[in-house]
Amino acid sequence: MSPSVRLQEMIRVIRGARTQGEERGVIQRECAAIRAQFRQADNGTRSHNLAKLLYVHMLGYPAHFGQMECVRLIASPRYNEKRVGYLGAMMLLDEKQDASLLITNSIKNDLSHNSQYVQSLALCTLACMGSAEMCRDLAPEIDRLLRASNSYIKKKAALCAVHIVRKVPDLGELFTPAARSLLCEKNHGVLHGAVVLITELCERNPDTLEQFRKVVPELVQIMKGLVMSGYSPEHNVAGISDPFLQVRILRLLRILGRNNDTASDAMNDLLAQVATNTDSSKTAGSAVLYETVLTVMDIKSESGLRVLAVNILGRFLLNNDRNIRYISMTSLQKIVQTDHNAVQRHRGTIVDCLKDQDASVKRRALELSLALVSAVNIRSLMKELLLFLSSCPPELRAHTTSGIFNAAERYAPSQRWHIDTILHVLTTAGGDVRDETVPNLIQLITTATELHCYTVHKLYRALITDISVQSLVQVACWCIGEYGDLLLRGECEETEPVQVTEDDVLDALETVLQSHMSSPATRGFALTATMKLSTRITHNVDRIRSIVSIYGSCIDVELQQRAVEYNALFKKYDHMRYRGSVCGAPSVIAKLPEYLLGGSGEPVPSSGLSHTVPGPATSTSGGDLLDLLGGLDVSPGE
């Protein structure tokens, strides 16, 4: 029976297991058999057994007892045993295992083996799991192979050198000369390896980078050859000649041209050529164009070239392929600060991407749109953002609302616009706004004195429509409490006035108080607002008094405390009710938010009630603006 069949037979049996338990049983039996086989002398089945063990390992079962077998197989003179042994080493051993050191000698020997396929195994394994120690040990061997071997080995040696440099950066100097001469090779595999190696060397050592700047003309020549050459069947991908190599060369050029005028000049023409001649109808071409754009934006390129690059990104935005749209936006995001005007030209397309089906694209479009907001485009862009908010995926809502608020704060063309925008956000997504939104909005409303009438009308209308959005309800209650007289007056310049009676307004507040949707903090706002209205209305003070006294025995401690203290205001301190405590005053308002929110809506312990509120109870001058409930000594139940 040929060896592969035994492995495949085992795989079949394992897959045939109907339950997890059955599978475990089969695997345990197989592993036991494998272990027993490993302990025996060489009977020609070692490689198959290791292969079976590797399959089991991939399913997630422990396979550490195969590590020594890997070491043995690698040392075998037979190719098929070496092949599986090295595969096992790459899967089971890593530099942290002690056993990995044991294969260093085998690798060393195999690096000079007669057969290039054995050399290849050693190179591959070293590049995959070679520890720093192994790398130091074998670096001279790799350097030798870089210089004198066939292209099959050279290309692998180059990437092995890359791994060595990553593990032991100091060894970079050893490989620099060989890397330089590899650039003269014609073989694409070797060239690619050389470019990757040079890139790695330049990224780690500024002196080496300086040295390799001299090869920019050579790299330009190679690129020109690739871009202008005719159809080459061996390397062609969708009409592009070796896009993998092109992308790597462009990346190396980027590193060499960065912060250096001479190098950047030398590659200017080439970049323009690649940008204009590369066909982007398929992914391969787009990949090359993308890398070109990244290079142009990172080096010291002419402004004409930069505009060309941004236009390519703009074209990408219109591409049918979602991946390309996404790539375009991530790139635009990187340059939106430095090339703001160029990116602004594509604002329309970017905003359209807000409507894309894909969540990643939407997220990118949102980031970019927020970065593009300016005083000039705030009105039109905000319309789009608000439209987006109404249909955006839930995970983006919080980010969108805070972005909108920031933009509004920076560029609001008028206070009325600002208030409208915030109200719109609260109506659409009030559940996803940050906690500071409520006090910030209250502050904004207070300062917009000419708009008090307008604002209270808008908020009243919002309140009677829907009381589920807590942030909106809180602001509405506060506003009604503060400017309820303007509401009752029945006239307004900025908007259609409402014709309401005092009862209507109190009904609205009572609905909030009684609704199970209202959070404790919201109830607090409603109760306080009700209390405040006692100074602004004339007919229904008794109704307010009765509401307040009902809540004097409310289960919610916070509400109860307030109700009791308001009650006391009615009874004992009625004369002060008008003077200081419930009339609006800046200091009160500034303190109100902290007081009322007191720890994100949770009931504030009664000691907290007066800690932000100065003013002794003894002051009866009335002219002092007493902070609400400052220093009143009342006890519950009075």
């Binding site: 037979r78 092949r83 083996h113 694409h188 690619h192 061996e234 993308y290 979602r322």
Partner: protein
Amino acid sequence: MMRFLLLFSRQGKLRLQKWFTPIPEREKKKIVRDMTTMVLARKPRSCNFLHWKDLKIVYKRYASLYFCCGLDAEENELIALEMLHRYVELLDKYFGNVCELDIIFNFEKAYFILDEFLLGGEIQETSKQVVSRAIEASDMLQEAEIDNSDYDLELGWP
């Protein structure tokens, strides 16, 4: 560089895992879990790129298999897609109309092919033909050894 390459089925079963940096076993398992969860949750016509920790994740579905790789942040995602596609083409050339079962029952061959295409997390050969020829030659070498015990790897035929 590429940090890892994973192949898994629509049910989340791992068919191939290649790691290019040393990572503890426990963490490998966690990464595999995270990748399968993230990728399998994606809707059909989504973008093929994701962000995970500080890596770019590029994935593509081919029939019943997901090919998923983790890349450093400076890598080009579009060329990574081409890389995945190239690997699939190589498998297809080798197995002839490759399907998931081929990779399940011949997983070691899938690794051998991968090791002729990528090395240390980078592409080692950009020509399809050169890779295919190398695989064929290695296979022939293996066959020669198995068929004839006189064949000595060091010296060739006696």
